[in-house]
Amino acid sequence: MEKIKLLIVDDEVNFLLSIAKRLEIRDFAVVTAANGEQAVSAAENNKFDIALLDLKMPGMDGKQVLEILKKEHKYIEVVILTGHGSLESAVECTRLGAFGYLPKPYEFDKLMETLKDAYSARMLKKFKKDEERVSELMKIAAGSSPTGILREMKKFDDEEK
C-alpha cells in the first residue's frame, strides 16, 4: 500500500521531530518544515496528501500557508494543530478550507483518526474527480477520434501532478 504523504509544519523543532517520528513509524511519509516559507516550497516539490499545520509562526503564519496550499494544490487536506486555539480562528480556518482543527496538546488517537478521515476525504475527492473525468472521457470517446482521447488523457495526467 502506498504511504500517506504528510507535510508537518511547526516552528517548535522538538515537537516537529517527535511527532514526525511517531507518524513515520506508523507508515506515513513525512516531510517537516519549520516555517511557512519552507512549507510552501516543500509543497511545490512534493505532492502531499495532508498537511499538518501550526498557526502561530514567525514569518508567514499558518493561515497564509493554508490559503496558499489550498489554492495551489487541489486535493491536499489541511489539519490545523495549534496552541492558540480559539473558536474564531477555528471558524476562519474552516472557511479557508481546513479539514480539521486540533488544539495542542493533542491526543494522539484523535490525531490519527483525523489524519485518516482527512486521507479518506482526500481520496474520495480524488475518486470523484476521477469519476467525473472518466465519464467525460467516455463522452468524448463516444464521438471523437482516438487522438482526441489521447490528448484529453494527457491533459488529465498533467493536472494530476
Partner: protein
C-alpha cells in the same frame, strides 16, 4: 488571610495616625499660627498704646490739678491780702470785725476755717474761728511766722500740720509792713475742702490724685489711699516740674505722673487705680475670646484633619485596589498571548511521551536503549521548565506586593520583561521587537513591579495597535538626570480626538470585554508618583511613541 487583614488594619491605623498628625500640623500652621501671632501682636500693641495714652492722661491730670491748686492758693492769698490791705482795717481789729472777715472769707471759699490777726510781736490779738483757745497765743516762735517775717514774699504757706489744735490743716499768712514792723493776718485752710475742690473740678475718673510735700509726705490724699502726713511711696524728683516716675506700691511697681506747684513745695501725684479694671477686663475678655476662637478653630481643624486623613486612606485603598484591578486586567490581556504559550511545551511533553511509548513498544521493533530515549526525556524536561517559567512570571506579576523601592537598572528590567513576556508572543505574531538600550544609564530607585506594570501596559497597547507585520522599538536614554524610556510602535496610531483622553480612567478603544481602560490611567498615576511623566506622540496610521521620563532621585 485573616492575619493579613489584621496586619493591614494595623498598617492602616498607623498610616492614619501619621497622616492625621501631619495634617493637624499643617492646618494648624496655616490657620492657627497666624491667628495666634495676630492676637499676640494686637495685645502688645494694645498694651503699649494703652500705656502711652495712660501716661499722657496722668501727666495731663497732674498738670491740670497742680495749676488748679496753684490758682486756688493764689486766690486764698488774694482774699487774705484784701483784708489786711483794706484801708478801713482797724488796728487792732475787734473780734466782731474778725467774725465779719471770716464770713467774708468763707463766702469766697469754704476752705477757710478761721482767721487771726497778729501784732508785731507775733501774738494773736484778734481771732475768729472754732478754736477760742488760740486767742492771745504767742506765735512768734512758730517756724512759719519766723520765715514769713524773714521772707521777701508777702505771704507764706505751710505744709499740712497738726498744730496746736491737733487737727491737720495748713496755714496761710500774709504780712503788711507798718513802719519798721509787720502786721500779720493768718488763716487756716481745711485740706478736705481743698481736696474736694480739686477732684470735683476735674473728672478724676480712674485716677488717684494726691499731693505730697518735698519729703514725700501726704498733704492731701483720699482716705482710701493713705492718711494725711503719712509718708507716701511717691518721692518725686524736685528737678523737673512735670514728669513720670515709678514707685513701689503694694509690692507692685506702678507708674505715676507728678507736677510741682508754684506756690508751695508740693507735688500733685496722679496715678492709675491699681486694679485697672476696665483695661484688665477688656484684656482678659480678649484673651478669653481668643482662647475660645482658638479652641473652636482647633476643634474644626481636628475634625477636618480626621476627615481628610480618612479620605486620603480611602483614596489610597481605592487606588491600590484600582491598581490591582488594572494589573489583573493587563495580565488578562497578556494571558491570551502568554497562557497559550504553555500549550506548546505541553504539546512537546505529550508528543515526546507518546514517542517514548512507541520506542518501548516491541510492536514497532525500535531500539529501546537508554541512548535513544534520553534525548526525548531531556526535551520533556526542558518543556516542563518552560511551562514553569511562564507560570512563574505571570504569578510574580499578579502578586500584590508591597511597594519596594530599590536600586534598579532600567535596562535589566526591560530585558527581563521582553524575554519573559513578549519575545515569543511577538515573534509568532510577526511583530519584531528591537531594543536600543544605552549602557550609560545610572541605577534608579524605583519599584520594579510597578514599573514593569507600566511597561507591560504600554507594550500591550503597542501590540494591539499593530496589524502584523510590524515592529516595536524600545529605547532608553539618559540626559540631565532624567531617564527616558521610549516605546515606539508601527501601529495604527491614536486619532487626534482620542489622544487627549487616553490617560483618563475607563477610556478604551478596544472591544467590549477586551480592554478595561485602566492601563494607561494607572500607569500615568504610577509614573507621576515616581516624580516622572508620560508623554505621547502619535501619527494616525503611522505609529505611536510613548516616552516615560523618570527623574534620577535617590530616595534613601
Amino acid at each position: 488571610m485573616e492575619e493579613k487583614l489584621y496586619k493591614n488594619d494595623i498598617l492602616r491605623d498607623k498610616q492614619f495616625r501619621e497622616l492625621r498628625r501631619g495634617l493637624l500640623l499643617r492646618l494648624s500652621c496655616t490657620y492657627l499660627l497666624p491667628f495666634v501671632i495676630l492676637i499676640i501682636f494686637f495685645l502688645i500693641e494694645f498694651n503699649s498704646l494703652n500705656h502711652e495714652s495712660q501716661i499722657l492722661r496722668m501727666k495731663a491730670m497732674a498738670e491740670n490739678q497742680s495749676n488748679l491748686l496753684d490758682l486756688f492758693l493764689k486766690e486764698r492769698i488774694v482774699n487774705l491780702r484784701n483784708l489786711i490791705d483794706d484801708p478801713s482795717l482797724q488796728i487792732p481789729p475787734s473780734n466782731r470785725d474778725m467774725d465779719q472777715y471770716l464770713n467774708k472769707l468763707q463766702l469766697d471759699s469754704d476752705a477757710f476755717i478761721d482767721v487771726g490777726f497778729f501784732d508785731s510781736d507775733g501774738v494773736q490779738i484778734a481771732y475768729a474761728g472754732p478754736v477760742e483757745l488760740l486767742k492771745k497765743k504767742d506765735y512768734s516762735k512758730e517756724p512759719w511766722y519766723v520765715s514769713l517775717l524773714k521772707n521777701d514774699k508777702r505771704h507764706i504757706f505751710t505744709d499740712i500740720y497738726l498744730g496746736f489744735r491737733n487737727n491737720p490743716h495748713l496755714t496761710i499768712a500774709v504780712k503788711r509792713r507798718e513802719g519798721d514792723h509787720f502786721m500779720v493776718m493768718k488763716s487756716s485752710l481745711d485740706p478736705k475742702k481743698i481736696y474736694e475742690f480739686m477732684t470735683s473740678a476735674e473728672e478724676a475718673g480712674d485716677m488717684f490724685i494726691s499731693i505730697v510735700n518735698k519729703d514725700g509726705h501726704f498733704q492731701l490724699v483720699p482716705s482710701d489711699e493713705g492718711n494725711v502726713l503719712d509718708s507716701s511711696p511717691f518721692i518725686p524728683d524736685a528737678g523737673s516740674k512735670l514728669d513720670i516716675s515709678k514707685a513701689v506700691y503694694d509690692d507692685n511697681s506702678i507708674t505715676y505722673a507728678y507736677a510741682w506747684l508754684d506756690e508751695v513745695k508740693w507735688a500733685v501725684i496722679a496715678r492709675k487705680r491699681v486694679s485697672d479694671e476696665g483695661f484688665r477686663g477688656m484684656k482678659s475678655g480678649l484673651i478669653y475670646l481668643s482662647a475660645a476662637i482658638l479652641l473652636i478653630l482647633f476643634a474644626v481643624i481636628y475634625s477636618r484633619s480626621i476627615k481628610i486623613a480618612n479620605m486620603e486612606i480611602e483614596k489610597k485603598i481605592t487606588r491600590s485596589q484600582l491598581e490591582h484591578a488594572s494589573k489583573l486586567a493587563s495580565v488578562g490581556e497578556l494571558a491570551g498571548g502568554i497562557a497559550h504559550e504553555i500549550n506548546n511545551p505541553l504539546a512537546i511533553v505529550a508528543s515526546e511521551v507518546g514517542l517514548i511509548k512507541d520506542i518501548m513498544n516491541p510492536e514497532f521493533g525500535l531500539d529501546s536503549g537508554f541512548d535513544s530515549i534520553e534525548p526525548h526525556l531531556a526535551n520533556i524536561h526542558d518543556a516542563a521548565f518552560r511551562c514553569r517559567d511562564i507560570t512563574r512570571k505571570l504569578l510574580s506579576f499578579v502578586r500584590q506586593d508591597d511597594i519596594e523601592l530599590k536600586q534598579h537598572n532600567i535596562n535589566d528590567i526591560i530585558n527581563d520583561l521582553v524575554e519573559g513576556f513578549f519575545e515569543r508572543t511577538l515573534s509568532v505574531s510577526n511583530i519584531s521587537m528591537k531594543l536600543d538600550l544605552k549602557d550609560d544609564l545610572p541605577d534608579l530607585t524605583t519599584d520594579k513591579n510597578q514599573l514593569r506594570q507600566v511597561l507591560i501596559n504600554i507594550i500591550n497597547n503597542a501590540v494591539d495597535a499593530i496589524t502584523p507585520p510590524g515592529e516595536i522599538i524600545i529605547a532608553t536614554s539618559y540626559h540631565d538626570d532624567v531617564i527616558t524610556i521610549s516605546i515606539a510602535d508601527s501601529g495604527n496610531g491614536i486619532s487626534e480626538e482620542d489622544i487627549d483622553k487616553i490617560f483618563m480612567p475607563f477610556f478604551t478603544t478596544k472591544e467590549v470585554g477586551k480592554g478595561t481602560g485602566l492601563g494607561l490611567s494607572v500607569s500615568y498615576g504610577i509614573i507621576k508618583n515616581f516624580g516622572g511623566n508620560i508623554e505621547v506622540e502619535s501619527i494616525y496610521n503611522k505609529g505611536t511613541i510613548f516616552k516615560i521620563k523618570l527623574p534620577v532621585i535617590n530616595f534613601q
